[in-house]
């Protein structure tokens, strides 16, 4: 067994080391199916957009989980489910051990203080008719956490924290630049000292030079206040920079999840590999021309009728018969690394036989094989177990 695998995951620069304590947020088999109405006389539900379909992950207190994927993969829906802007179709959202997936609006009220959201568009997410002071102070007033006469002081404190002039509390959003507006959004999210921030594309609408300012601000806040982040973005480099753990989503499912190093240096799902290879790299200037990359063909299929078995198979160069028949489980292949693929492996090292067949009780074509032994201890729930499948040796190892 190679030593690096048994080592602790290198913690991110700004994040506290992960403990063994219960996670702050645990999402288990989360599903969000939006009904699709037919166009007939009676508008029957003719199908469902399977926006999120069986997603599981954990976020520990003060930690960051990055959620990446292309548009329509379900990452934003996941964020909205966790802030309970939607009620999920199925699965559990455990926040500090309690399932909040189906809590009533009234009982969610205290939770709204703990989980806050930062939005992508700093232009539309702030009410143009309210002053910045009102916008930031509103949560304080609603939740009655601070006496009325103290609200202004707290607002100014928050403005200072996010790097804005505290004297500008009586200005309106349009008087600020895009970056400043995003800071206002962040200040509003911080008002109630949340434990978890869901940041949905917090910088993608900003100019490059401003993006870095906001990212650094978020890092500082996380370090200072110990806030956990669910960081949703399509920019792989920014997610890598910000999050020590990252999940890659494709068509409503997590296809690969792991610590930063495992995922970016040893991506084992063909989709992750394709995604990473497609990112234009400024360092290529030294070499000139385009980088080698894995070309994906076609578009992302419709989430209304996703492909059978592995959802990525229609665009995958590794796909075989089994991929259409059996959905690959999210299999742990390292201490903090899981992948959902029948043929996982780093580029060029994919196995020729499906490694999952035996585990799933099927033969290598995906046909049920009663003789195959089913290995049940390799769970697919949220979090990581102490045992995993070593890809090179095809053995179960424990750390």
């Amino acid at each position: 067994m190679e030593t690096p695998m048994t080592q602790d995951v290198p913690a991110g620069r700004h994040s506290a080391p992960s403990g063994s304590a219960a996670p702050l947020l645990e999402v288990d088999d989360l599903r969000m199916w939006f009904p699709v109405k037919g166009s007939g006389l009676i508008r029957r539900t003719v199908g469902h957009v399977q926006a999120v379909d069986g997603v599981s992950f954990q976020v520990r207190a003060g930690q960051s989980l990055g959620l990446v994927g292309e548009s329509g993969c379900g990452k934003s829906t996941t964020g909205r489910l966790i802030t309970r802007l939607y009620e999920p179709t199925g699965g559990a959202i455990r926040f500090e051990g309690e399932d909040i997936a189906h809590r009533s609006a009234r009982r969610l009220q205290p939770l709204r203080r703990e989980i806050q959201m930062i939005f992508q568009d700093p232009y539309t997410s702030l009410n143009p008719r309210h002053t910045v002071g009102t916008i930031i102070g509103a949560p304080l007033a609603i939740h009655q956490v601070v006496p009325k006469d103290k609200i202004l002081g707290r607002v100014q404190e928050l403005l200072e924290i996010v790097g804005l002039n505290p004297e500008h509390y009586n200005r309106y959003p349009h008087e600020f630049s895009g970056g400043q507006r995003q800071r206002i959004g962040i200040a509003r999210a911080l008002t109630l000292q949340p434990k978890l921030l869901v940041a949905d594309e917090p910088v993608s609408a900003l100019d490059v030079s401003i993006q870095a300012q906001v990212i650094n601000l978020l890092s500082d806040l996380q370090r200072e206040f110990g806030i956990a982040f669910l960081f949703i973005a399509h920019d792989l480099a920014i997610v890598r920079h910000f999050c020590p753990e990252i999940a890659v989503m494709y068509l409503g499912k997590i296809v690969e999840i792991g610590d930063r190093d495992s995922l970016y240096s040893h991506p084992s799902h063909p989709y992750t590999q394709a995604l990473l290879s497609a990112v234009p790299d400024v360092r290529q200037a030294a070499v000139g021309g385009r980088r080698e990359r894995i070309r994906l063909t076609g578009d992302v299929p419709s989430p209304i009728n996703p492909p059978s078995g592995c959802r990525f198979r229609t665009r995958c160069h590794l796909a075989q018969e089994i991929c259409a028949k059996v959905e690959p489980p999210l299999l742990q292949i390292g201490p903090k690394h899981k992948v959902a693929c029948h043929f996982p492996g780093e580029i060029g090292k994919a196995p020729e036989q499906p490694i999952t067949a035996r585990l799933l009780g099927v033969d290598q074509h995906g046909t049920p094989d009663p003789g195959a032994e089913s290995v049940t201890e390799l769970g697919t729930g949220p979090g990581y177990s102490d045992t995993w499948l070593d890809l090179q040796n095809r053995t179960v190892v424990s750390g």
Binding site: S39, G40, L41, R43
Partner: protein
């Protein structure tokens, strides 16, 4: 699309039923005793009760509404009095389905009266509509193309001027000067096409039409101008320029089509609501359209007529909504439904 239209029509019909009920409820919610009004000034209480009974106002509201709905569905007789029918059948009025009721104040079937009045309002609405659409849109486009110039400001200013003046003033002004003093136009009097052909019909409609059009025109000038300006700033217009298309083609094909689409909605609904009559214009020019009829019916407490008009107008507006939506789908492929 077919299913969509059918569904919309069904929803519209349900809406009509609801509206008729609401009208009934509103009517009976007013503190006025219409039987007392109808009875006249020397009425004794017993007579009032008799009148109430003969008007059918003695039943509970819902029963009256139920009778109305039944009339719409299968027709009715007025008065619904078998004894009278046996004694003096000439006094009983048949009202075949869809029966909108019988007005004891105009002594006529509501449906018949509405049918008589509708062409007046429709003619007026149509002429006004054509005037304001043609003139309003044309000036709106000119203003947009000459944005910021004197021409632009002049057009918008004049439009606002007419908008600001009350309709009855503009109407009286046009009537007094163009018809009475200068006699440019004949004294307006509704002349059905059947009576004198298209020209007298139109000629008589020009003044009231213009009165109405002047009011609506202002809105259309401004909206057209805004839409055209907005459309001129759209990325696809820039794309069209980048392709090297000539200015005229860009204006016609790319700018105008997008700019005028939202007008379809406005225009359709405005036309539909005008079908219900423009009370003030009709009053000034003595055009006995639905608007005046509705006003009189409301004033006189003529429930049957009021309900009939409300339902007719609602039908127009609902129909216009459906047509506009369908038109929209034809114009804008994005809103096409499967």
């Amino acid at each position: 699309m077919g299913a969509y239209i059918v569904r919309r029509i069904l929803v519209g019909a349900a809406l009509l039923v609801t509206m008729s009920l609401v009208t009934f409820l509103l009517f009976f919610a007013t503190p006025v005793d219409y039987a007392r009004l109808a009875c006249g000034k020397t009425c004794q209480p017993a007579q009032i009760e008799e009148v109430r009974k003969s008007l059918g106002y003695d039943d509970p509201v819902l029963v009256q509404w139920g009778k109305f709905m039944k009339g719409v569905a299968v027709g009715r007789e007025f008065p619904d009095d078998p004894a009278l029918r046996a004694a003096a059948p000439q006094l009983v009025t048949e009202c075949p389905a869809p029966c909108l009721g019988y007005s004891t104040q105009t002594n006529s079937l509501v449906g018949t009266t509405i049918k008589e009045r509708l062409p007046v309002s429709l003619s007026l609405a149509l002429v006004a509509f054509i005037l304001w659409i043609v003139v309003g849109v044309a000036f709106g486009v000119i203003a947009a193309l000459r944005k910021g110039t004197l021409i632009d400001r002049g057009i918008v200013g004049i439009a606002l001027f007419f908008f600001a003046f009350p309709t009855f003033f503009v109407g009286l002004f046009l009537y007094t000067y163009f018809a009475i003093k200068w006699q440019v136009f004949p004294i307006p009097r509704y002349t059905p096409i059947a009576d004198g052909g298209v020209w007298p019909w139109l000629q008589n409609l020009l003044l009231p039409g213009a009165t109405l059009a002047l009011f609506y025109m202002a809105g259309y000038v401004r909206i057209t101008r805004a839409f055209v300006l907005e459309s001129m700033g759209e990325d696809y217009v820039r794309t069209a320029r980048a392709k090297g298309l000539p200015k005229g083609v860009i204006l016609r094909k790319h700018t105008m089509r997008a700019a005028l689409t939202p007008l379809v909605t406005m225009a359709g609904l405005d036309l539909a609501s005008l079908a219900g009559g423009a009370i003030i214009t009709e009053a000034v020019f003595n055009y006995q359209g639905l608007g005046l009829l509705a006003g009189t019916a409301a004033r006189n407490g003529d429930l049957s007529m009021s309900v009939g008009i409300v339902v007719t107008l609602a039908a127009f507006v609902i129909a216009a909504n459906i047509i506009v939506d369908v038109l929209y789908a034809v114009i804008d492929p994005r809103v096409r439904v499967g």
